[in-house]
């Protein structure tokens, strides 16, 4: 039976003997060491990086492997497999010959996962879809985090009416169910026939920036609230008061004393927020108010596959699997980061 000795464990992590002298480690080094001990989190991180890599390789796959343009209809196209010419869209069978069915998975280079109802290569679209989904997921999470941190630092540090104003604004956004708010914004912005014009900024109706910004905005309060609480608490800590006593400027207090202390929280939240934003993007795109055709995202491909569930289920299943794997990897990664970065989780490092 192993006996867990917390003090000894902490001592092992926090210090190291170098030439007979005990040397302390920075909190970041400690976090790195803790993270590297978490094999599951590393595996999740590797999986996430792999998903990003294959998504980035989409153009290479489309050009050199599948030999196709996954954004152009290929309804009358054919391809050759094992010496046979195969129609991409095949006429229905039976006595009446009704309906047209896209070719199913060939498990070969061309149409590996089959074609969709426009005759486009599903595998290539899934990879391209990953680029859009990840771009929007990561981009909106970064945007939400940036805005939330800025607002939280201002609100928490200055307090008073500034805090009240920003907090009520965030409460206002929070008061809307997140999907309802996202759907409302997306419906207005994406269906505006001429896109969005604000001053000299013109965003075309199909731009990826629209879902990216919408999703980023709706998640700001979810990051703002914990960060603001932390800033309020840090503002009263001794090291901050000491800096104030030494005449430190507000800028220095915010950027040198407070920000570094809230950074781990943001880092811990980031993978979880990315997972959430990817799911939100998929939901919006599935409802035709996210990524716009002929561009692809995992959500749009699931939507494309919905009408083919009965005959060509892989069109919907393949992007579904990618969404599940990505979100799973991000959640496990997020847990690993939390275990590594949250000082209060030291006792969990062994467990």
């Amino acid at each position: 039976m192993t006996v867990f000795e917390p003090e000894a464990e902490i001592a092992t992590l926090d210090t190291e003997e170098v030439g007979g002298e005990v040397v302390g480690r920075s909190p970041w080094e400690l976090a790195g060491r803790r993270f590297l001990r978490n094999k599951l989190a590393i595996a999740a991180g590797v999986l996430f990086v792999l998903i990003i890599a294959v998504s980035l390789a989409a153009p290479l796959y489309a050009k050199h492997v599948a030999d196709t343009d996954p954004f152009v209809s290929n309804l009358s196209g054919t391809f050759t497999q094992n010496g046979k010419t195969i129609q991409v869209i095949q006429q229905g069978g039976g006595k009446l010959g009704l309906g047209e069915t896209p070719v199913g998975p060939t498990w070969h280079a061309k149409y590996f996962l089959g074609a969709d109802s426009q005759g486009r290569d599903v595998a290539a679209r899934v990879l391209y879809g990953g680029r859009a989904s990840l771009l929007i997921g990561i981009g909106s999470a970064v945007l939400a985090s940036l805005l939330a941190v800025v607002f939280a630092l201002i609100a928490g540090f200055f307090g008073g009416w500034t805090d009240n104003l920003l907090s009520r604004l965030m409460d206002l956004i929070w008061a809307f169910p997140v999907y309802l708010l996202a759907i409302s914004l997306a419906t207005v912005l994406l269906t505006a026939p001429n896109g969005l014009k604000i001053g000299f900024v013109h965003v075309s109706p199909g731009s990826l920036w629209i879902p990216l910004v919408i999703i980023g905005i709706v998640y700001v309060p979810y990051i703002f609230r914990p960060i603001r609480g932390q800033v309020l608490s840090l503002r009263e800590r001794e090291f901050v008061e000491s800096a104030i006593a030494q005449g430190a400027s507000n800028r220095r207090l915010v950027f040198s004393e407070i920000l570094p202390n809230v950074a781990p929280t943001v880092i811990v939240l980031m993978p979880l927020i990315i997972a959430t934003t990817i799911l939100t993007e998929a939901a919006l795109s599935y409802l035709s108010i996210g990524v716009q055709a002929p561009q692809a995202s995992w959500g749009t491909i699931v939507e494309d596959g919905q009408g083919l569930l009965y005959t060509r289920p892989w069109v919907a299943i393949a992007p579904g699997i990618m969404i599940v794997l990505t979100v799973l990897a991000l959640n496990v990664l997020g847990d690993g980061l939390r275990d590594a970065l949250d000082p209060r989780s030291k006792l969990r490092t062994k467990g």
Binding site: S73, G93, S288
Partner: protein, 565 residues
């Protein structure tokens, strides 16, 4: 009827709608027009649909196939389309009138004699005054969609449109209850007047029906009466105890005792219910990925019928780049209509076309200049070389083009196809997919300066002008209006002159007029205001117990003529 009806009414139909009066229906290779006598009377006919008909239940307001298919056996007009399958179903026969009158006074006067002894389902006897009351009500309720375009030809109609509350039509409709006659006076000859009074807007209602929108169709003279209209649940009709057959051609007795249509089932669920015999017919078009299964396992229960309809993309002939004839013709030559047919469901469900009029329609003569090896009148393949040559000559390459369509799967797929094609031809195309609720009005309004817009059109009644004049006539373009069916904004004075001549001739010589309409069809097609894509077919899926299926070009599946016993 298009989006008006098509996407209100036939939106429910999903992909398609009306029929082409081409000789009945063709199910696989067999005739689908079985004899009514194949079945017996009695039983309950249960149909299923996604939802209730769009709009109001009021028969003078509703403009949906879904409700019209039921109204035809609960109500009657003075004349009717013969209630049989096949091309015979496009013929007008007398219904509440004893005969179809020959117009006098240059086509401006129609005198009808009303049959005696006919009763409404509330027991009241039909009188000529009911006819006048019905038409006055049509204007007074203020929401009848075609009051101002079809029926304002009745003298006094225009005044009624302007001030519905004071409408009386005293000059336009003269009633003689003693002699059982009704005389219509029109402001001008209208070759389609009889067609217009044979549709549900003009079905006769009893005097005293409220002059405001009703929530269930009021009593009629047909073999059934409405007993339930719950848009969240179902519509239900039972036998009208006062009905006696007066004309088998116009209003035959129905077979089922009860006819029910339940709402709230997805297309998938509808197919499954019909397969299992839990429902007798699905109103909506079967989902594409169930067609193969139906075709294989349930072929004997599937009926495929051509429709008098056309699916098309309209160019805006007043906005660059398609204000250039060569550019429009070039896109027409490049369009692979087989690919579009595949999107729709394959060659068994649609036939490529280049022209405006659908096959087997008055005035139709096969014509297709936009194909490889033209001459046969049929489209065979795209001619990319010719297309590129025309587009190069047009000098429009590089122009930005918005391809406008709606967000439904099939229509969006059409749009995506054209985005790819236009990019290939050298344009910078982008998709503009709008909600089906706003897309059609958006395209109609010239303020929006659409460039290339998806639409479709289904016949209201069998007349060439219902396509050519309604969709491409000068008067059909109403600037800055959401009700301007001439999406292409096409107005060609010489061609309009030909149309007017055909309309005039149609009052006295419909056959001769159709020759003129054929020439108009060719002339318009040459001007390429549209890319006509295909003429669709309609898939009906019925349960095993349904006998006596008949498909009318005008009303589609004649539900009451089928038997479930």
């Amino acid at each position: 009827m298009r989006a008006r009806m098509v996407f209100l009414l036939v939106a429910a139909l999903g992909l398609t709608a009306v029929l082409a009066g081409c000789g009945g229906s063709s199910k696989s290779s067999n005739s689908t027009t079985n004899s009514t006598s194949a079945g017996a009377a009695g039983g309950t006919f249960l149909s299923v649909a996604k939802g209730a008909p769009s709009g109001s239940p009021d028969p003078q307001i509703n403009y949906t196939l879904q409700e019209w298919q039921l109204l035809i056996f609960s109500h009657d007009g003075l004349v009717a389309f013969k209630r049989v399958g096949g091309t015979e179903g496009t013929k007008l026969v007398p219904d509440l009138a004893t005969s179809i009158p020959t117009p006098t006074d240059g086509g401006k006067t129609y005198k009808f004699t009303i049959r005696k002894g006919i009763k409404f389902s509330n027991g009241k006897e039909l009188k000529p005054s009911d006819v006048k009351y019905t038409f006055v009500r049509l204007f007074k309720i203020g929401q009848s969609p075609n009051a101002g375009s079809w029926y304002n030809v009745i003298e006094g109609g225009d005044a009624c449109v302007k001030t519905p509350a004071t409408c009386n039509l005293d000059k336009g409709i003269v009633v003689d209850d003693a002699n059982n006659t009704v005389t219509f006076h029109l402001t001008r000859g209208d070759p389609e007047f009889l067609d217009k009074i044979a549709v549900p807007f003009a079905f006769i209602l009893p005097t005293g029906t409220p002059n405001k929108e009703v929530q269930i169709p009021p009593p009629g003279t047909g073999p059934y009466k409405w007993v339930e209209y719950n848009p969240n649940k179902e519509m239900k009709l039972v036998r009208n105890p006062y009905f006696k057959v007066w004309s088998k051609d116009a209003q035959p007795a129905g077979n089922p005792d009860v006819i029910v249509q339940k709402f709230g089932l997805s297309g998938e669920a509808q197919v499954t219910q019909v397969e299992n015999g839990q429902a007798d017919w699905m109103f909506d078009t079967p989902p594409a990925d169930r067609l193969s299964e139906m075709s294989t396992k349930y072929a004997s229960q599937v009926y495929v019928n051509p429709l008098t309809a056309v699916y098309y993309f309209a160019f805006n002939v007043r906005v660059p780049p398609f204000n250039n004839l060569k550019a429009r013709q070039g896109v027409n030559f490049a369009t692979d209509r087989n690919a579009l047919v595949k999107i729709y469901g394959g060659p068994k469900l649609a036939v490529p076309t280049c022209q405006i009029l659908p096959p087997s329609f008055p005035g139709y003569q096969a014509y297709c200049p936009y194909t490889k090896n033209p001459g046969s009148g049929k489209w065979t393949a795209p001619d990319m070389a010719k297309a590129q040559q025309l587009i190069n000559a047009s000098g429009t390459k590089g122009a930005v083009v918005k391809v406008n369509t709606d967000t439904t799967d099939v229509n969006k797929a059409f749009g995506l196809y054209f985005v790819g094609l236009l990019n290939k031809l050298g344009y910078k195309a982008q998709l503009q997919a709008l909600s089906p609720d706003i897309q059609y009005p958006y395209c109609q309004n010239s303020k929006n300066k659409i460039q290339f817009c998806y639409s479709s059109w289904y016949q209201d009644y069998p007349a060439a002008s219902d396509f050519l004049n309604v969709l491409l006539g000068c008067d059909s373009f109403v600037p800055n209006s959401n009700a301007s069916p001439n999406i292409a904004e096409f107005c060609n004075k010489p061609i309009q002159g030909q149309m007017n001549a055909a309309l005039q001739q149609g009052i006295t010589d419909p056959t001769g007029a159709n020759t003129k309409w054929a020439a108009v069809d060719k002339a318009v097609t040459d001007q390429a205001p549209w890319v006509s894509m295909f003429n669709p077919k309609y898939v009906n899926f019925v349960s095993k117990r349904v006998k006596g299926f008949q498909f009318s070009p005008q009303w589609y599946f004649l539900i009451d003529q089928a038997s479930v016993k």
